[in-house]
């Protein structure tokens, strides 16, 4: 006998697109983080009207709602808390329209990031934000998390590539935020919605900006015998007035792991390697590539390899993007952190990360967006080992504290979600959090859209938030 909630959802959508059986509860109870919860029901709308119907039904039955894309989020943003209806956008995956004149496209939220770029490649265009998960994450999820990627150093994160968003608000009504013209009237609600992690409504249509594919690209691999030298080269490149298209760093442990897996020809004895890409018009690109090589050499680079062709470039990038896959061969579990520190403090913080790892008997690896100061310490461990999870969490907390101590922030691209919400007070005082709570209240006065996410309980008086058992927050 389905519950009244499920029956109503089935009547509004189609019975096959509403699920509440134990398997669905488990599958949609988690995302790519280590957290889990339980939904009241899961539904798969195919249109804006169906999203509105699902929201209204959930509210009528007293349930909150949780928007969900592909579930690749790493901060527990789509993990259901408070017995919600999970609204999954995977069936809303059509590219509705694109306009070559305006270099933009209207897409449904469930379109996969890479599918969008593939669909417009024949026009010489692409969607610039390129998270490592781009084969599987949705544009809606990118918008909700303001996701980044290697090429966001030069091209900007998701927020710089979103023009307009059609949103179903938590009361079921529709709003169009932003617009296709450069300065839509009113406050910048589009800008506020991007990165709101599903707490301000459900994006049902998104107008994205498309970027021309650059005419010339040079990809360089530089290897260093110390992390300090590699980090100094990062600062040196930026200080020399070059903003590379991408500037990524891998430390010794991860380089070895990746090389054994991908065979990209990465030096096995390097302390750190930098993957640098410059692009643009031919003369500027050649000049930048030469300048990058000079800065690397001046900072002690042992060898500099320039990708000879597209195949070699693809191989170098495959090495970078396969890092997580490579780790799976070393240990059964890894915990990926995501913080940002001022670029000039990278070495100091990396050394601190290694020290924290040693103290907690955990292996630390680093593969990250060095040009942005966006550090991704990876804690490699075996969950079956007694007490391992506790040590991982303790080390994680110390890493966050170390980053904030040097003027860093909690997250550069994965978001706060459930994972880091109780760390928000490391970064923000009560008055700062109150202002953020007000911003959310503009869209969701009742706190029913993705409850318990981003802001800690009590950020604004009167809110009461429950958190699932066993969740690390």
């Amino acid at each position: 006998m389905p519950s009244a909630l499920v029956a109503d959802l089935e009547a509004a959508l189609a019975p096959a697109r509403v699920r509440a059986e134990p398997l669905a509860m488990t599958l949609y109870g988690r995302d790519a983080s280590v957290l889990e919860g339980t939904p009241a029901a899961v539904c798969f709308p195919e249109s804006t009207a169906e999203v509105q119907a699902a929201v209204r039904i959930a509210r009528a039955h007293g349930h909150p709602i949780v928007p969900r894309g592909s579930g690749t989020g790493l901060a527990g943003g789509a993990v259901p808390v408070g017995d919600p209806v999970v609204i999954v956008t995977t069936r809303m995956n059509r590219i509705l329209d694109f306009d070559v004149e305006d270099r933009m496209a209207w897409v449904e939220p469930g379109v996969l990031n890479l599918d969008l770029s593939r669909a417009v490649a024949h026009l010489g265009l692409h969607f610039a934000p390129d998270p490592s998960s781009q084969q599987s994450c949705s544009v809606g999820g990118n918008v909700a998390n303001n996701s980044g990627g290697p090429h966001c150093l030069a091209y900007g994160v998701t927020s710089a590539h979103v023009l307009a968003i059609e949103v179903v608000l938590p009361d079921g009504s529709l709003a169009m935020l932003g617009g296709l013209d450069p300065d839509p009237p009113g406050y910048d609600l589009r800008g506020l919605f991007v990165g709101s992690e599903g707490t301000m409504g459900i994006a049902t249509r998104i107008a994205v900006r498309l970027t021309p594919v650059p005419s010339t690209v040079r990809t360089l691999l530089a290897d260093f015998t110390s992390v300090e030298d590699a980090a100094a080269a990062v600062s040196g490149i930026i200080a020399a007035g070059i903003v590379p298209a991408a500037l990524e760093m891998m430390d010794a442990e991860i380089t070895k792991a990746v090389e054994a897996y991908v065979h990209a020809g990465f030096p096995l004895d390097a302390a750190a390697i930098l993957l640098v890409e410059v692009d643009g018009r031919p003369a500027g690109t050649e000049a930048d590539a030469a300048a990058v090589a000079d800065v690397c050499r001046a900072n002690g680079a042992r060898t500099i390899r320039v990708a000879a062709d597209l195949t070699e470039r693809a191989l170098l990038w495959k090495g970078r993007k396969s890092a997580f896959g490579a780790i799976a061969r070393i240990a059964p579990n890894y915990y990926l952190h995501d913080t940002v520190v001022p670029r000039t403090r990278l070495v100091e913080v990396m050394n601190k990360v290694y020290e924290i790892g040693a103290r907690h008997r955990l292996v630390m690896m680093n593969v990250f967006h060095a040009g942005d100061g966006n550090l991704h310490p990876l804690i490699v461990f075996d969950r079956r080992e007694p007490g391992a999870m506790e040590r991982v969490h303790a080390a994680g907390t110390e890493i966050l504290e170390a980053c904030i101590a040097v003027g860093g922030v909690l997250s550069g691209e994965h978001g706060i979600g459930l994972e880091k919400r109780d760390y928000m007070s490391l970064l923000f005082g009560p008055d700062d959090l109150d202002a953020q709570a007000r911003a959310r209240e503009v869209f969701d006065p009742d706190g029913v859209c993705n409850p318990a996410k981003v802001l800690p309980a009590g950020a604004r008086c009167g809110d009461l938030q429950r958190v699932p058992e066993g969740a690390w927050i």
């Binding site: 013209d181 450069p182 009113g186 018009r281 670029r343 997250s411 706060i416």
Partner: protein
């Protein structure tokens, strides 16, 4: 003046109007003449070229900021109409400069803001690093808010390397901006086009007439979908690829979708309506 003293000066009651250098004073209408004027503190607080960020008090003029950055071959591409304009005023008005096509809108430049709320509290939004998704993006809400939801006291801005070379070109007719690689600006007045290219001297060489700079811009602005610009008639200067049109006469007032949501922003951040009364964010 430190930030706490400035917060105390803004205080918690009575109408106040934040004043920069009054270069964009007419945007959004005249302020209530009875409102008490407050001026944000000025001065550059911290600047590390290798971070490509600068922390600056909101009352600092753009001329002063530019001078400090130029010394290190860097810039903030805000391009205000007047060098006297203050950083706070430029952000509060939120109008992007002519190089938006390449450098993006003003809102992409603001990384962190310390602002004074309607009840006199000093609040921080965002963070001092170039990439940050820790919490909601209140900086976006503040840019273009004309001082109606908070008074900017101090900000962290993203800076850029100054291009090695830059040149303005002119040519008759409508230029297709998509045939140029990342132009900084492409203008069209219905007859003539102007193009600003910045970068490596070889890359920006173009066989057109070189000119000193852009044409004089009429004072009013209107925002249009970029592909609509070629249909424009009358007297104007349009930013191709962007959609901003500079006009001699004020354009019709536009209303946002769901004005109730915008009104709620004001209510939640300034319940008594004391911040910059009389001004409208339209």
């Amino acid at each position: 003046m430190d930030l706490t003293a400035f917060a105390a000066e803004v205080g918690a009651d009575g109408p106040v109007v934040p004043v920069g250098s009054r270069t964009q004073w007419d945007v959004g209408g005249a302020p209530d003449p009875d409102a008490r004027e407050v001026k944000a503190p000025s001065g550059i607080v911290a600047y590390e070229p290798a971070e490509m960020t600068v922390r600056v008090r909101a009352g600092t003029t753009m001329a002063e900021l530019d001078a400090a950055l130029t010394e290190h071959g860097q810039m903030v591409p805000l391009d205000p109409r007047s060098a006297d304009a203050t950083v706070g005023g430029v952000l509060a008005v939120g109008q992007s400069g002519l190089r938006r096509l390449r450098y993006g809108p003003v809102r992409d430049t603001l990384l962190e803001a310390r602002f004074v709320t309607a009840d006199g509290r000093l609040v921080k939004a965002g963070g001092p690093v170039v990439k940050n998704v820790s919490g909601f993006d209140l900086c976006r809400l503040l840019v273009g808010s004309l001082g109606t939801i908070g008074v900017l006291a101090e900000v962290v801005l993203r800076v850029q390397p100054t291009p090695k070379a830059s040149k303005w070109y002119r040519r008759e007719g409508l230029v297709d901006h998509r045939t140029l690689h990342r132009p900084s600006a492409v203008l069209w007045d219905g007859g003539t086009s102007w193009v600003l290219l910045e970068g490596h001297p070889v890359d920006i060489a173009l066989g057109w007439d070189e000119v000193e700079g852009p044409p004089a811009l009429p004072r009013y602005r209107r925002s249009l979908r970029p592909s609509k610009l070629p249909m424009l008639t009358g007297r104007f200067v349009a930013e191709l690829g962007v959609g901003t049109v500079h006009l001699h006469d004020p354009p019709p007032l536009a209303a946002p979708d769901r004005p109730d949501l915008h009104a709620r922003v004001k209510e939640l951040f300034d319940p008594t309506g004391r911040l910059n009364p009389g001004r409208r964010v339209a």
